[in-house]
């Protein structure tokens, strides 16, 4: 298995939405941009940046599926902005954080939390730095392929992180199914003078969930909503480290990532390196597929937590690990038979079936009493439900109601 490269599209749509809010465009329509030039940014606590993945002309802001995107027309010249490789040896931890922000690094596992914020911790409070090498979801293998082919880069980045955060230990967590990576990675770590512990995880989903991963590695169970760094832990995804490698070792901002193209209707299974902003229609074309909503559903992300695409223009963003083509399912909804499978499956130890009941009864009090707010929306409950009860729908609507209520009372 290797990482495939796809030709770049003629038009790229850079997502302006970030972890919170939208970024402000800092270039004008009609202006030409060079590759790696900053095109949009936001300030404040959840500051973020995005850079042009190609050189070309800015066409303006478009809306696709209710989100804002900056359109760039690719001139295929790849005129690069002169890159300066940062002098990481001289960095203070503030330089380090600033560089993460400058390069637009954010979590590549899905939630897109800005990495510079995650790493902003009081000096020497981090006990365990965990590298999340467990694929977040079934079907995806982008993290695996990175560990397999880009081990040296990852280690080089880890050296820098080691110096900046000074954790007591670094743990690489990988799944049982990828056990064969353990030895080569450990050897490589030794070459880089790193002391990395390996943790083999079971193949179950959702192993890659941050809270569950922390428990598997450190034995500490932290509640949803509390910040791992406050417990002396930081978890970073392999994909995020790879993005950092581009930034730290070559001076490149985060403009491309690895995605898995897969699914039961996919004909060309594989991992590809694509530019952020590449519309999925383009990827489908280049991998001998087509956009056909009657025949298949295209999922941005993994099968458990990914979102069904509604338009072929929707692009890859920094948190998308895959593009799945799945047969259109025809769920046979039946009554809940109270089998309790969803209760057994829930990694947060909740009672998902109760969310359905109480959401229907609009009983916000009960929704809270059954801890809906602790749900991490992993979809495990709906996956095992034999009756195809629309659990995720009720969970989402229920959460929305609770949010509504909170904002009503806080006014």
């Amino acid at each position: 298995m290797e990482i495939g490269v796809l030709p770049d599209p003629a038009l790229l749509y850079l997502p302006l939405a970030t972890y919170q809010g939208d970024m402000d465009v800092v270039v004008d329509a009609g202006q030409s941009v060079t590759m790696y030039q900053l095109v949009a940014a936001s300030s404040g606590t959840f500051a973020a940046t995005i850079h042009a993945p190609v050189s070309g002309e800015v066409l303006g802001v478009t809306e696709i599926a209710a989100e804002r995107y900056l359109t760039i027309k690719n001139d295929f010249c790849y005129t690069e902005k002169a890159l300066t490789v940062p002098d990481t040896a001289a960095w203070t931890s503030e330089d380090f954080l600033q560089y993460l922000l400058y390069a637009g690094i954010e979590g590549s596992g899905g939630a897109r939390f800005p990495t510079h914020l995650k790493y902003r911790v009081a000096p020497s409070t981090i006990k365990t730095f965990i590298i999340n090498g467990a694929e977040c979801e079934p079907y995806l293998s982008a993290d695996y392929i990175l560990m397999k082919t880009a081990g040296a880069k990852l280690m080089a980045v880890l050296q820098i992180i080691q110096r900046m955060l000074m954790p007591d230990e670094i743990v690489l967590a990988i799944e049982q199914q990828h056990k064969e990576l353990a030895v080569p990675l450990a050897q490589m770590a030794k070459q880089f003078g790193l002391d990395i512990a390996l943790k083999i995880l079971p193949n179950t989903y959702p192993q890659g969930g941050e809270l569950q991963l922390i428990k598997s590695v450190t034995g500490i169970e932290i509640a949803k909503g509390s910040i791992p760094a406050h417990h002396g832990m930081i978890v970073s995804n392999v994909g995020t480290l790879w993005a950092m490698a581009g930034a730290f070792l070559e001076g490149k901002p985060y403009t491309e990532r690895i995605i898995t193209v897969s699914g039961n209707r996919s004909r060309t299974l594989g991992n590809y390196r694509v530019k952020i902003g590449t519309p999925l229609g383009h990827i489908l074309r280049e991998t001998q597929h087509e956009w056909n909503q009657q025949a298949q559903t295209v999922i941005l992300g993994g099968p458990m937590m990914g979102r069904a695409a509604v338009s072929p223009l929707q692009p890859i963003h920094k948190g998308v690990g895959g593009l799945l083509l799945l047969e259109n399912a025809d769920p046979q909804q039946m009554n809940c038979i109270a089998c309790g499978y969803c209760v057994d499956a829930c990694p947060q130890h909740l009672m998902p079936l109760e969310f359905v009941r109480h959401n229907q009864e609009e009983d916000l009090h009960q929704l809270k009493a059954f801890h809906l707010e602790d749900c991490i929306a992993c979809g495990a409950c709906a996956y095992v439900c034999p009756s195809d009860v629309p659990l995720m729908y009720h969970i989402q609507v229920g959460k929305e109601k609770l949010r509504q209520e909170r904002s009503d009372t806080s006014v």
């Binding site: 509640a223 458990m304 069904a308 046979q332 909804q333 209760v343 057994d344 009672m351 439900c385």
Partner: protein, 362 residues
């Protein structure tokens, strides 16, 4: 709106659940067939036929769901009901039982999954009330003359040696209801369900442990008769029924343990034959409350033990209170009125609240 997850387990649908239960019931049915031949098959066939017709008609008329026959639950209910009957039960009584099980045990609650009581046992209680003279007559339970394959056929060696008797009672020994002839066949089915995760070990283990421990520990229990196979049938196939049992693991342990305890109390209170049915139905009524009381501890959060203990205490007290009530009703021969009340209640519920909720998944 298309929501995640975009995949589900392929071979895990309600139909597959029901298919697994049917497969698990196969060994007992074979044994019943061995023992009574066509007589047994007739009972099974009558029950299944009546259940399917009832399901089709009433699910269609009352719930507007004509296709629900295909979920397979009616067949499972009918076979479970048949397992609790004597091979000599008249066909119209069997048909009535299956009809009552489906209509009053399930459909008037809103269909499969919404019922709070085990439908097969509900059907059985209806039979006991409306055909009490038949169901309780010693005549239908005297079946020795009809046995087609005698127990001794299996163990032609010394028929009276102690180990032989022991073996017989484990493997094949006719007597009692159709589902009670073989502890081995019952356990086989139970293990299959366990392996397929259609039941969890919590309920059977807790139930049997408590039940057997009590027999050992309480001297007053000495000499009281009960059918181990009957208890096993109830434990593996009735108490574990999904809709009417709790959904949480700890809840299941408590629920199973309480069924064992209540069944034991009923035996002490001289309840004959029905101790298992009563105990399971009684605890069915509490299963939601048990689930809530024994919620799993939410990830990363701690439990308020004091509050927890208080809740469990109140719950246990209520269960004891109801047990006492049932015992007194039994003592004064008034249990039939419970069934009448149940009918009134369920019709009221159906007319005034249920029909609005019929198409809701929970």
């Amino acid at each position: 709106m298309r929501l995640h997850p975009h995949i589900t387990q392929r071979y895990n649908t309600v139909q597959f659940v029901m298919l697994d239960v049917l497969l698990a019931l196969l060994p007992i049915m074979c044994i019943a067939w061995l023992a009574y031949g066509e007589l047994a098959l007739n009972i099974f066939a009558t029950a299944v036929g009546a259940a399917i017709v009832t399901e089709f008609l009433f699910s269609g008329i009352l719930l507007k769901r004509w296709r629900s026959v295909f979920d397979g639950s009616a067949i499972v209910t009918a076979i479970l009901l048949a397992c609790t009957l004597s091979p000599l039960t008249p066909w119209y009584v069997v048909a009535f039982g299956a009809f009552a099980a489906i209509l009053f045990g399930k459909i008037v609650w809103g269909g499969l999954g919404k019922n709070r009581f085990n439908p097969a046992l509900v059907g059985r209680e209806f039979m006991a009330v409306f055909f009490s003279s038949i169901m309780l007559s010693p005549h239908i339970w005297t079946t020795n003359g009809l046995v087609q394959t005698a127990t001794s056929t299996f163990f032609p060696m010394a028929a009276d040696a102690y180990s032989e008797v022991y073996l017989q009672s484990l493997v094949y020994k006719t007597g009692g209801a159709l589902g009670e002839y073989s502890i081995v066949a019952l356990s086989l089915g139970g293990f299959y369900l366990l392996l397929r995760n259609r039941i969890s070990w919590h309920i059977p283990l807790a139930l049997l442990t408590v039940f057997i421990a009590l027999f050992w520990l309480v001297p007053a229990a000495g000499g009281r008769q009960f059918s181990l196979a009957g208890v096993l049938l109830g434990t593996l196939f009735m108490a574990t029924d999904m809709p009417s049992s709790p959904t949480t693991a700890r809840g299941k342990v408590y629920y199973g343990g309480m069924i064992g305890l209540v069944a034991f109390l009923f035996i002490l209170g001289n309840v004959r034959f029905e101790y298992m049915s009563y105990a399971i139905l009684l605890l069915n009524g509490f299963s939601d409350r048990i689930s809530y009381t024994f919620q799993p501890r939410v990830w990363g959060r701690s439990t308020d033990w004091k509050q927890q203990v208080e809740k469990i205490f109140v719950l246990t007290l209520s269960i004891f209170a109801v047990t006492l009530a049932v015992l007194s009703l039994y003592y004064y021969n008034l249990t039939a009125y419970v069934v009448y009340l149940y009918i009134l209640y369920i019709i009221f519920k159906f007319n005034f609240s249920l029909h609005k909720k019929v198409n809701n998944p929970v």
